[in-house]
């Protein structure tokens, strides 16, 4: 039973074959994060509880979990801001579970590549470094998308991903949009063809759950809308 000194928490444990929630009572602390709670359970009660984290300061994107039904970065989510009622922690939605709170990110990064997420240089290391004007339109558009930490929170929040296995998802398309706005990139046509093809930007229903959940306050819907406009223009001009 929770009190001012303790927190009631339920943590999902299992694997790809299934699992269930187990309940714990954890000592409450000031400014306690959800990741602190999971770590306490792992270190004091359940040594084989499996979860993923690295930096603990919102830089690496590895500690994302489903907290009270919403995908969150657990290292920067205070228990006091996690929602009402007992804390309920589960693995991210839309990704296969390996064990407990750890998801297999393979399909997430495969889709990232499939949407044209790999930079194709237009110059070699022997060429002079190109000067990029920070005020130019393309650079401003790239800057809006570039701070993605690939935590997969947007991917987990997206209903279009849940309903369509082929859909690349918000993070991959956001990456594609940031490269399309990179003036050094030499792969724009192939990239736009991939981003507008099967599994591409036109699968987005513009529900904007990605933007409302992104912990870095990015807006993948904005990027996907940009891809849609660019793809329509390129199609009309016969470029893709």
């Amino acid at each position: 039973m929770a009190s001012d000194e303790t927190i009631d928490v339920e943590i999902w444990q299992g694997d790809a074959g299934g699992g269930d929630y187990r309940a714990y009572t954890v000592p409450a602390q000031r400014s306690q994060t959800v990741l602190d709670v999971v770590t306490w359970v792992q270190q004091n009660v359940e040594p084989d509880l499996t979860y993923r984290f690295a930096c603990r300061v919102g830089m690496c994107g590895s500690c994302a979990m489903n907290v009270n039904g919403k995908p969150r970065w657990t290292c920067r989510t205070h228990v006091s801001n996690a929602g009402d009622g007992p804390l309920r922690i589960a693995p991210l939605r839309n990704l296969p579970v390996i064990k407990d709170l750890v998801c297999d990110m393979t399909e997430f990064f495969d889709k990232w590549v499939g949407a044209g997420g790999v930079f194709k240089p237009s110059a070699t290391r022997d060429d002079p470094m190109p000067a990029i004007d920070p005020t130019m339109t393309e650079r401003a558009a790239a800057s809006e998308a570039i701070e993605c930490i690939n935590c997969a929170i947007c991917y987990s929040a997206c209903d279009a991903v849940a309903q369509n296995d082929a859909y690349f998802g918000p993070a991959a398309l956001n990456r594609s949009w940031s490269l399309i706005n990179d003036v050094r990139d030499a792969g724009k046509t192939e990239r736009l063809t991939a981003a507008a093809g099967i599994g591409g930007c036109f699968n987005c229903h513009s529900q904007q759950g990605c933007a409302s959940h992104c912990p870095n306050l990015l807006n993948p819907t904005l990027s996907i809308a940009g891809l849609k406009r660019a793809a329509v223009k390129a199609k009309v001009r016969g470029e893709i």
Binding site: K70, A157, D159, G209, T221, R229
Partner: protein
Amino acid sequence: MIAAHRKQPLWFAFALHRVSGLLLALFLPAHFYVLGLALKGEAALDGFVAWTDNPMVKLAETMLVFLLAVHMFGGLRVMALEMLPWSARQKTFAAAAAAGAFGVACCFLLGAL
């Protein structure tokens, strides 16, 4: 029960657009049936038109006008979102679409009373 990750205004705008579209699709057969009455002669259609003077039918028509308006305004919102330069006021546009549809439905009801 709405899942926690969906509890944000633009998901509700999406859901309203989708549900209104489905309900309008269900209404279409009735619409074509009424149009078909005109082919059976003036009396058949006049009989139906007289039936629509019933206040409950007027209320149902008001709902129908709301569905039509909210689906049209919602569709314009999505087209603007996807094809015009991005605006940060997405929630405002969704609220305006719903408010505009409510206004159109109220105008219809006032005209029908």
